[in-house]
Amino acid sequence: MCPSAVVTPQTPTEVAEALADAAERGLGVAPVGGGTALALGNPPERLDVALSLERLTGILAYEPTDLTLSVAAGSRFADVQAVLAEHGQTLPIDVPEPERATIGGLIATALAGPRRYGLGTLRDLLIGISVAHPTGAVSKAGGMVVKNVSGFDLMRLYHGSLGTLAVIVSANFKVMPLPRFESTIQASYATLSGALAAADRVRGSRVRPAALEVAQTDGRWLLAARIEGREETVRLLARECSDLLAAEATTLDAGDSAAWWAGYIKEESLARHERGVTVRLGTVSKRLGEVLTRATELATEHELPLEAIHVSPGLGAALLKIGGEADEATVARFHQWRESLLGLTDYLTVMRAPVEFKRGIDVWGKPPATLDVMRALKQEFDPTRVLNPGRFAGGI
């Protein structure tokens, strides 16, 4: 689907004016940051205007000794990290395309990588936000202090709302000190259950890694634990972690560790792969092994090639990449596979797929139990359905 116009406002007020203008004309608007998650969501009901935030860039306020940062929504993640790094600080989240992805887009999509396990997401770091509304207004919530209960917490409402309520124009964060050192411990297992059992031992220990992942590589399952902190402590915990793995373990330190994870995270990009389908599923941690085993069995049954599986054992989540062409037979087999897994999972989202795969389904899976409350929110914030109409869960 292609918009007939692209607007590139320069200020928050211009964003709001563009939205109000679209509302007046009954147009559909898709806010666009770095364009790395355009594949996410249902095809919108209407797409007339692409609202690019690319000119809303820059650090608005940064006080390193307060560990607080305010940044315009169109700022690229890598640019923001570079400024923070000069002061030994960071936003500790994993972004597959840091040179392209924008702060606003990261908040709107709520995409989070492996370190969500130990360090949380932007949801936990957001302390303030400004958004533009289809009424033509710009409003804010929160502030520039790290602890604040003044007024409703709209930061968390906008986080993950995929640009369907308002357009984020800037955001304030509490930032974190860069870890002084990091190591990654890896071990390979013949079976998924062997790798998950090892992951369970790590989860139950004092190691408390920032990230703990299991991934399928060359028919085997690789466990990777990322440990961050003071160097002596990291080295001590790395040894303890190795002892827990009951397999031959290798350790990557400092830059080698960071580089390995950058590669791993890049594989989770929704922007890079021209073919195939990326699916994310979730269940309670203790059922994850069972669900994934069933998912792989069913994939074999339906002749769907599973090209990559990234498992987050502590989060009860996994990212699966399915290869194959977008021909009618493959699409039908994929839909059958998805259908039989919906009942076994708490959610199953088609994160990226050629449009042929998206037809006739809600890519977000089962509608949320509170869909009517969510619709009421949409009605309040965007009554004429200007913003990404139909793209979000339950066709919001």
């Binding site: 109000a20 509302a23 007046e24 006080e63 307060d66 709520a110 936990d124 958004v131 289809p134 009424t135 033509g136 207004a137 710009v138 409003s139 804010k140 919530a141 502030g143 520039m144 202090v145 790290v146 602890k147 604040n148 209960v149 003044s150 007024g151 409703f152 917490d153 968390r156 409402l157 986080h159 993950g160 709302s161 309520l165 974190m176 000190p177 860069l178 004092r206 408390r208 003071r230 402590t233 915990l237 309670v284 203790k286 989060l315 989540a317 708490d346 959610y347 977000w364 899976g365 949320p368 509170t370 969510m374 009421a376 929110l377 309040e380 914030f381 009554p383 004429t384 979000f392 339950g394």
Partner: protein, 486 residues
């Protein structure tokens, strides 16, 4: 329906022992923990104490049919008037719903009813090596439901985060009387983050009937330090230095000399009586790491002028150091009959200037002000000492409060860090928020509670009836663009 019939209907829902309606029984429910005189009190029509979510829902449906306001209430320890029924109506007290329903050690979550007391949850999971991280000072009395409503903090939220970071899901009764679940054990479910929107909404969007909370593993080792500074300025600089060095202690609390004068003679915590200010610094984690971090913190304190840093790693010694801090509010009785407690937050770098301004305000208004607060996150708790029975004292306190709050907002701060807005601070909301900001918040309120029956007259400034805000917003939109949404 007349009052007697309503009470009869309520008794039919929860049983005869579960409804209070005689004036003497209602008296205690006219107040919460906030200062008498700073927050208006009001009498509810009745107080109902349900034992199940279904009963809560039935009460809500009855109130909706009668157009009566509904005010949820936990232990009543709130400090901003949030649990007072400003427009009358029915108070739903959730204290009888106080069961811990499930502790899941493997997934590190607990499912609790809203009336479970904060500290009791921690005590229940401690033997398994866990705790519930939010630890407001009232944790011996306050309830999890109240913590959710206020998004409560506490000394340890510096490292562990506030309530919203520990709530995974909620069962709530909506204003139309339906019982729904938001969030859950599996993170990352599609749709809006209704859990995030509900936490801190001060009982204005829904009534929590179950909470699924995260349990945090107890740290392996804990060290508490007491750093003695000649003045508040050097103590404030130490705070910035520690945080700036990339160290996030588990807690970082400050007490000024006036607080020490109240606390030390009463509790003998070992605070130096001649200190200008002390910092109570707790670091935790794995044993090997804690020792190294504590040494670093000690160095930083000495560098910026600490006269002495006492280090306590044994439990009894640590608890003694904490005792002074935890009992500080109780000890104020030694200095004055009453105190008014503020909760503003300023950027950490503005602490020295703000504390100087607090001192000036004390002088200007002839008030003694003690400072005992969460320095690590810039959350001030100035205690304005007064005597409620002395003519003019309450008025002076309120005028001084206004000055203080205005200053904190001017330096980029916020009205409240953890106590909530309630009725107490609603009048100050326009210092921080524009009409457009409030309209967006009203949008959230309206989507849950279009009739405005859940905890009315809270958070929004007087005159900001949400329905009206919404009408004005739509009207403005219609005029500007010639469109009609409805």
């Amino acid at each position: 329906m007349d009052r007697a019939s309503i009470i009869e209907r309520l008794e039919r829902i929860v049983g005869p022992g579960g409804v209070f309606h005689r004036p003497a029984d209602l008296l205690v429910y006219e107040y919460d923990g906030s200062v008498d005189g700073a927050v208006e009190t009001a009498r509810p029509t009745a107080v109902v104490l349900p034992t199940t979510a279904e009963q809560v829902a039935e009460v809500v449906r009855l109130a909706a049919a009668e157009g009566l306001p509904v005010v949820p209430r936990g232990a009543g320890t709130g400090l901003s008037g949030g649990a007072v029924a400003q427009s009358g109506g029915i108070i739903i007290a959730l204290t009888r719903m106080n069961r811990i329903l499930e502790i899941d050690r493997e997934d590190r979550v607990a499912l609790v009813e809203p009336g479970v007391i904060n500290l009791e949850l921690t005590e229940a999971v401690q033997p398994d090596g866990y705790f519930f991280a939010p630890d407001p000072s009232s944790q011996r009395a306050c309830t999890i439901g109240g913590n959710v409503a206020e998004n409560s903090g506490g000394p340890h939220c510096l490292k562990y985060g506030v309530t919203t970071n520990h709530i995974l899901g909620l069962e709530v009764v909506l204003p139309d009387g339906r019982i729904v679940w938001v969030g859950g054990r599996t993170a990352g479910q599609p749709g809006y983050d209704l859990t995030g929107a509900l936490v801190g909404s001060e009982g204005m969007l829904g009534i929590v009937t179950k909470a699924l909370v995260r349990l945090t593993p107890l740290p392996e080792a804990v060290t508490v330090m007491l750093a003695d500074f000649p003045d508040i300025d050097s103590a404030s600089h130490a705070v910035s230095r520690i945080i700036g060095a990339g160290i996030i202690p588990a807690a970082l609390e400050m007490m000024d000399n006036l607080t020490i004068q109240a606390v030390e003679p009463a509790y003998h915590a070992g605070y130096p009586m001649d200190a200008g200010a002390v910092l109570l610094i707790e670091v935790d984690g794995i044993a090997e790491d804690v020792a190294a971090t504590a040494a670093e913190v000690r160095e930083l304190c000495i560098e910026v002028g600490a006269r002495e840093v006492r280090v306590a790693s044994e439990k009894a010694e640590r608890e003694l150091l904490w005792k002074g801090r935890k009992m500080a509010l109780a000890a104020m009785g030694r200095l004055a009959p009453n105190y008014y407690l503020h909760d503003t937050v300023v950027p950490r770098t503005k602490l020295p200037a703000t504390l100087r301004r607090v001192g000036e305000i004390g002088n200007e208004f002839g008030l003694r002000i003690a400072n005992v607060f969460h320095a690590g996150d810039g959350n001030l708790h100035p205690l304005m000492l007064f005597d409620r029975h002395k003519k003019g004292d309450v008025e002076r306190i309120l005028l001084a409060s206004k000055e203080l709050i205005k200053y904190c907002v001017e330096v980029g701060g916020s009205l409240s860090g953890e106590h909530g807005i309630g009725t107490e601070k609603r009048g100050y909301m326009t210092l921080v928020f524009t009409a457009e900001d409030l309209a967006a918040m009203a949008g959230l309120k309206n989507s849950f509670d279009p009739r405005g029956l859940f905890n009315p007259e809270k958070v929004f400034p007087k005159g900001y009836v949400c329905g009206e805000v919404r009408a004005l917003r739509l009207q403005a939109m219609a005029q500007k663009h010639g469109i009609y949404a409805f």
